[in-house]
Subunit: 182 residues, 2 copies
Amino acid sequence: KARTVKESTYSNRGMTLEEDLNESNQYYLSHDIAVVHKKPTPVQIVNVDYPKRSAAVIKEAYFKQASTTDYNGVYRGKYLDFEAKETKNKTSFPLQNFHEHQIHHMKQVVKQQGIAFVILMFTAAEEIYLLKAEDLFPYWEKMKQDGRKSIPKKDVEEKGFLIRYGFHPRIDYIKIIDKLYF
Amino acid sequence: KARTVKESTYSNRGMTLEEDLNESNQYYLSHDIAVVHKKPTPVQIVNVDYPKRSAAVIKEAYFKQASTTDYNGVYRGKYLDFEAKETKNKTSFPLQNFHEHQIHHMKQVVKQQGIAFVILMFTAAEEIYLLKAEDLFPYWEKMKQDGRKSIPKKDVEEKGFLIRYGFHPRIDYIKIIDKLYF
Ligand SMILES: [Mg+2]
Ligand SMILES: [Mg+2]
């Protein structure tokens, strides 16, 4: 059955966090603070209709696995790269929210001296944390060696940095980046 | 009339250059030299079919104007951002190959101390140049003030940097970046 959808409603999970990040990035952009954009959803286009006198219509396409994280950009000359995820879970952050290729990409970024991190939201507590990618990797590796499949919330609280929810920008993650890397 | 197309054949213009850049970026990635990806084509999705037991099919979607350039990434910690264009023109590079929002984006990147440039290919001469965004902007501004709508090839030769076509990577633009910015 076909459904008509708005562009941004694909994943119900993550909707608000994504909107808040877009608002924040827009704030950074218009105030010359940072240039960060969300990458478009990758789509494999199979069939396109070119009607006379109107715009091309994509008639058949499929969602593709992204090869990178969703957000990247530049802040004070440095490369920023991150993924944002949320969970309804109260006591831990499930690692299956991430994909192997995203972790792999963040490792490549870190190797190239870029700034890579994740923004983790616990929706029940309404808490948002910035966790450096370097602090995420060990949990991922342990999971792959049959370890636990989530990061305990208290570890996120200890290793991550709480981002207070604001009015404008709503998620001021650059403030944390500034303290951590500059 | 509907046509079945391969993902990468939308623009005939730019096809080979895009493939060569993808190959070069793949080379950089696998050799830990740089992490640069082409952004997905932005698409406005209107209607999606979710069949039982198989992948979601996008049934109606439209091409959207990109708000940034096509390529970005990280090299030695620094943010890289560029657009690649080609022309069949022998004596000048037409500026209508660029869009206002791409120029605007590159200006924002430069303000944020990122490295922004364009890769210009003259297909007849089989010559590829890297031109810093800062050296492109004045031509764009002059055009907007009713000036000439292209950059003379000799100006590209003088202000830009010839990238010799190679075997692997095919377009070694990082070599130029290295000399210019590090
Ligand atoms: Mg994502
Ligand atoms: Mg383009």
